[in-house]
Symmetry: none
Subunit: 189 residues, 4 copies
DNA sequence: CACTAAACGAGACGGTACGTCCCGTCTTGAA
DNA sequence: TTCAAGACGGGACGTACCGTCTCGTTTAGTG
């Protein structure tokens, strides 16, 4: 028998797999329970309701997404490098991410709070993460580091979610985007 | 008896009212039909399914939102003015909007695709709307008008959804935000 | 589509069949619904709850039992004959009755209120039914017809449910039982 | 810690108390266990299943009922006196008996096998108990003692369960009932 | 007095069924 | 013909228990 936290993990993974296959609305608790090798009652014992389970899955995946993202930019030595590595990594994750692909097609609503700027917490966290790099960089005169971090966070999330005309799998394009569009006018020339 | 397009309108309004009161998930077709003074079967004749009805309501409200927004910036004479009026109007609409308030509290997910940059169509439309103003403005040398419009659309949507440190009900702050943060470095000095 | 009263009948019959096969406790609403070719929701629409359905089935079968019983004693010309025919018919019905057999083995409790004297209504009804025959008979002096009818009802139900030493399939024994044990001392000699 | 037989007793009493309060169906093993100050597992260790526990409670109460009944007729000196004391005692017990009252209202089915004549064992036991008194009495000519005992047992159970027009709390009425209705024609005049 | 074995409390779990809600389909009858 | 009214099948949700099982603890009884 798995320990309690492991059980939670197992259920989250299983539910996540179901969502990846069938979308959120089409995933019944019966499905998730079967996938987890667990009874439906246990889902309720751990998560209380369908909605809370789904929220937990999203929160869990959200956390994993950013943990991997942070991991991928660990080696960055400069603000520009953080932005470049981050955009590439995030975009790649989104593109390859089976669940995100499925969810974005069938129910974009559910996962977007994560990446959109409406829920300001994510933007704040990104800005906080960027702040040390901003402080280390040489800003153009009159630039407030916190404002810059906030601005960069907004841009990061915007391009991460929807690159638009840019192909973020191409290092050159990422470099150009970051250098000219995002940091242009921010760093001291 | 109302004509067919009127019937659609009545149903959309009624459903919208229900959503405002109880949120999307807690609004049953029974509720919407009762509110519209219409039988449940009629909802199906007009919209096919619950999901399509909800989508129609969102699309309808989305359209109304941007129609009012465009109306509010009609008198703008410059790019800066468009951005300022637009941000103020949009933010005010969101703040005062009963449905948006309710929905953002209970199910932020559903209405966000509308305003977030992920669904790129909205950003594209905003960019297209801004383009003439951009072309009319005197850009800093080397700036591509389309890229600028895209950039401004991203920023517009980002700040509209989450102003962050700015209070967009204050004209001065909006002016500062637009002048220094959004257009700074873009317009020819 | 069956009319409403027919639907009730169909459901009652189906549930009755399930009870005959598996007993009351082991008959789920799912079973009954399937047997009736009806959805589980419809059971609730007609009967409200499992308990009410079961009660309805018992009441329905109870009614049928006594209707047949009354039918079988239609030709009786005297009090003695009513008792004889009734005891034989009732006992035969109980013996052959598939549901009663099953239920009496697995859950005697449920059907006994019907036949036991505790729920006095049944006894009263039997007594009322017997009263005309009693009035027509020549009672021993000092006998109150109503008291006699009540007494005979008690005995009828007692022997019907548990003949004890008597074999009620044998006309001779029934005759003896009625003549000597039940009516002895009651009719004028 | 209570000894094993005491534990059984405690559990039976506790379950009995729950049944008295809430009826059989509405008494969960959780309730009974809590009332007994015992864990649910212990109920299973002692009784195996819910059904067996309930049966045990009924059997236990059944036994207590008749033990008290026999005790109450200990001083009877004649057949008539046995019947009189017995009917009064039994009726009083049933009337005052909290559990019986509750159960008879909510689930008459469960306790009736005990008192009805269908389960012939009870009738047999009563008849066996009455037999010595019958043998001691002076029967009308041609009366078989065993048949008389059986007949009296039937009547006893019938009136005990449902007195009908008689008020068994009145000694006079009991006397009349026994003398004229039950023993009339049986004893030698 | 320490030690072991049985009894017990606590509670997680799978499973079954209940009662409810609501969707999407269909029929009927009235305007 | 269109629509309101509403019955129906189907499916899922959330809840309640049951019966099983496994821990850890307490209590007896024994060496």
């Amino acid at each position: 028998m798995a320990s309690e936290p492991e059980q939670r993990e197992i259920i989250l993974q299983a539910t996540y797999a179901c969502i990846a296959r069938w979308g959120v609305k089409r995933t019944s608790l019966e499905d998730a329970a079967r996938e987890a090798g667990v009874s439906r009652a246990t889902l309720y014992r751990y998560f209380g309701s369908r909605e809370q389970l789904m929220n937990a899955v999203v929160a869990w995946e959200y956390r994993r997404f950013f943990e991997r993202l942070i991991d991928d930019v660990r080696d960055a030595g400069s603000l520009a490098e953080v932005m470049e590595l981050g955009l590439q990594s995030a975009r790649k994750a989104i593109t390859e991410h089976e669940v995100l692909q499925m969810v974005l097609q069938t129910e974009p609503a559910l996962l977007e709070p994560t990446f959109s700027a409406i829920g300001s917490t994510t933007r704040d966290r990104v800005a906080q993460f960027l702040l040390p790099y901003v402080l280390e960089a040489t800003l153009a005169p009159g630039r407030d580091p916190e404002a810059v971090a906030d601005y960069l966070a907004r841009m990061f999330l915007s391009y991460m979610g929807a690159p638009g005309r840019w192909d973020l799998t191409e290092s050159d394009q990422v470099k150009s985007l970051v250098e000219y569009e995002l940091l242009g006018g921010i760093l001291a020339s």
